[in-house]
Each structure stands twice: as C-alpha cells, then as structure tokens.
Symmetry: C2
C-alpha cells in the first residue's frame, strides 16, 4: 500500500438486475465500506446499483471514475451471457476487450486443458492493460483498469479476494467511531444532540439512529471522527445529557 | 391506484451516512423493489446511496426525478439535526419548507400537547404542497412532493407505511419470474443459456446467479418476463438443457 494521504474516497457500483429486482439482498456494500475504512482509511461517498445494460454501465463508470479516487464494481464478470461488466468497461475506457495472458494461464491450469471451455475462457477476457486481482477461492481473477477495481458479485468470493487489491490503493486517514446506545426516542435528545453537533461541527460527525432490538426501543448515537480526542470529548458530553435526562445506556 | 400503463419505472434513493459507512445493512432496497413489482407492476431501474449532505441530496433528487417516473427516498426525516431530507427536497423543488397542518395535528395528538417538543414538531415540517403518506406505527408521516415519495429509514416503520402510498402510483404491467436451481457451475451451461437468451431476446430476461446453500454449489437460472407464456416456454428449454447434461435440479 502506498503513502498515506489525508482524505481518500471511493464509490461502489453494484451491477446486477438481481439486486434491483429485490430477489437478492446485497451484502457487498457493507463489507467493502467497512474494509475500506478499517484497512485503508478510505471512505465510501456514494453507492449505485444499476442493471446489466451496457450503455448504463459505460456512463456510470465514466461518471464515478471522474468523481471519485477509486470505483469498486461488483457483479457481471462471470462466464454467462448476462456478465457484461468487463466488455462494457473496456468500451468506457476505449480499451481493447481481450484475453489477459496471465488470467488465461491461471484459469487453464485451474480447470485443466480439456475442461477449459468457452464460458471459462471468457473469464480471462478483460480490458487491455488491466492488472489482476487474484482470487484464492475460485481462480477467476478480478481486475483493475485505471481507477476502477472489478470484483465478482458472490459475497464469499469477493470477501476472499479483497486483500489482494490493497497494493493498488493509496492509504487515507482512518475514521474512528464510537456508538452510545440510549434507551430513549430520538425526539427526547434531538435538541441537545443538535447543539453538541453545532459546537464540534468541524471535528466530528454525530449520527442518530433509532433501533428496535431484543424488545428494547432506543437510539444509537454514532460519533465519527479522524481524531480520537474529539470522540472522547463528545462521548463525555453525550453521556452527560443522558445522565441529566436519566436515560439508561444499553450495552450488548 | 390509477389506470394500468405498460412500463412504469422508479428509482430508490437511500439517504444516510450509516449505510455508506457499512455500519448499517440496508434492507429497504429489496423490500421496496419487491413491493413495487408485485403490488404495482413498477420496476426499479436504479438505486443510489448518498450521504446526509444537502447539496448532494438536492442534485440527486433533481436528477432522478427527471429520469424516472417515481423516486422513493428513505432516511433523514426524523427529529434530529442529521435529518435533512425534507428541507433539502424543499430547496430542490423551490418549495417553502413549512409545517404541514394535518401532519402537525397528527403528531400533536400522538404525543400530547405537553410533550410536543421542537424535535417532534420538526417531523411535521416538509415542502409546501406535500401530500401525506400515513404512518400507522409511529405517527410521523412520510410525504409525496411532485414524483418523489419520502419514507423514514427504519425498515419496520417503512414497511408498515408502504401500502399508504399506493394511491399516488400509476400501475404498470407486472414482471413474472421463475427460478430454476441447477446443481452445477455457471460455465457448464453458459453457452446453452446464451443461445436461449439470444432466441428470446425480445421476450424474456434470463439471469444466471451462482449460489452456495446448505452445502450445495449451484446456479439459479432466473427467468423474468411480462408474459407468462414465455416463462413456460423458456423453462422447458432450460430443463431440456439440464436433462441433456444430466444436471440435478435443486428444490428447497
């Protein structure tokens, strides 16, 4: 991983009709976001989910790759007719869509020469000049072209690959967070939270999220900052509000 | 619900730092998408997740509302300082951000005059001319302004409200679907599936999704069409491929 910068951002682009139709529950956004923040200090600024339509993929990749330092795509790099991510991104960047020699060798070895059929060969095709993101679980590599990193959509496979893209990323400063769970409703503490946020507007981001858990109704107050000092400072103020209002803190 | 049209589409806009950071797993996309398709014949064409930043909300709402028949937003309509969806959408549409008299009455009645504090009053504020989407579980209504329908982010509350927006929607033609689960890997059937898709390109959408379930590896072949006839026809062809290749069908 390269030198540490200050702020580094990324977008996630989920490509797949199965997510849009509601058939499949996406799990990749949460996994990638957490990994990027915790391991690389990169924060995700936007997510999009789009269908398997070439024109839509091309336009969205070009837009996001110009607005964000990195774009992580998931889905559409398998062997079937509806996997059109690689060829669409090749078109977006005006690159030839062609066999990657190393990916070809990896897949040929994995399946054996006799069973290396056209569907399997397709997974070695990608935009020219792509760099490989190795896949320890099912061989077919992801790839990086310009600032776009392409992963498969299956969570188990994506999760096993993610560490192998670290070498392509510039590190940013990590965002720390702390959650204080109060047994109350938001409107009881909204005024006080607003005042605290105003006071520390430049140093911390305070989020407030209702929860319903094991029969309890409460509010998760989430503090996020690049500086732990402010997390400690603001946590004290939130705990003071809780004490004054006699609110219970819920630990789990 | 109004007269039945042919194709009606929608976008979903998830507003909230907690989804982008990976802290919270979104569940609203899948719920809204399924509900829209099954109950209204409306298909979701795009999803975006963006942070609680006014400018970003304004630009995204304007873009999506011009591209799609409806936009469903979730998140940011509660009582706290980080809930800025209503005022941002008012700005986007150059509407006054003001108390909605009926929403005010509903909330005042729900909380009681004595406990109707500023945070709670804030939930009665929305863009002028908004129509209410009633909330049977926690009173605070969502709202519709132009073609944008705004819901809270908490799944349990959103789910309880969704039926109450049906009267604002034009009905489209429903997409039917059928899933055939084959115990195989994608690359075994990719060629045949591609040929079937090509043959019925105008009538059906064939998706292919690997799965790992109860110790089985397989492929879900998903057929989607507005015409059941083509689903039956194509299902026969897929089953024929499975039979020729001696693939087991997995039922669960």
């Amino acid at each position: 991983m390269k030198k540490k910068n200050k702020k580094v951002n990324a977008a996630i682009l989920i490509i797949g009709n199965e997510i849009l139709s509601g058939r499949t529950q996406d799990k990749n956004v949460s996994f990638i976001s957490k990994w990027l923040n915790e391991k690389c200090g990169i924060s995700v600024g936007e997510v999009r989910v789009i269908p398997d339509i070439e024109k839509k993929i091309i336009l969205t990749v070009l837009e996001l790759s110009s607005k964000f330092k990195y774009v992580f795509t998931t889905g559409g790099i398998g062997p079937t007719h509806d996997d059109i991510t690689a060829q669409s991104i090749a078109k977006a960047f005006k690159k030839k869509y062609t066999f990657h020699p190393e990916a070809y060798r990896i897949l040929e070895k994995y399946y054996g020469k006799k069973n290396f059929n056209d569907g399997r060969k397709k997974m070695a095709m990608m935009p020219q000049d792509s760099k490989l993101i190795y896949n320890p679980s099912s061989a077919a590599p992801g790839f990086k072209i310009k600032n776009v990193l392409c992963f498969p959509g299956v969570p188990q496979i994506l999760n096993s690959m993610i560490e192998n893209c670290k070498k392509f990323l510039s590190k940013g400063s990590k965002t720390f967070s702390r959650t204080i769970n109060l047994l109350t409703v938001e409107s009881t503490i909204s005024k006080e939270l607003g005042l605290i946020q105003k006071k520390y507007i430049k140093n911390i981001e305070i989020g407030s999220y209702p929860f319903f858990r094991v029969g309890k109704i409460g509010v998760s107050v989430v503090l996020r900052s690049e500086n732990k000092k402010f997390i400690n400072l603001v946590a004290k103020e939130v705990n003071k509000v809780a004490k004054n209002k006699r609110l219970k803190i819920f630990k789990y």
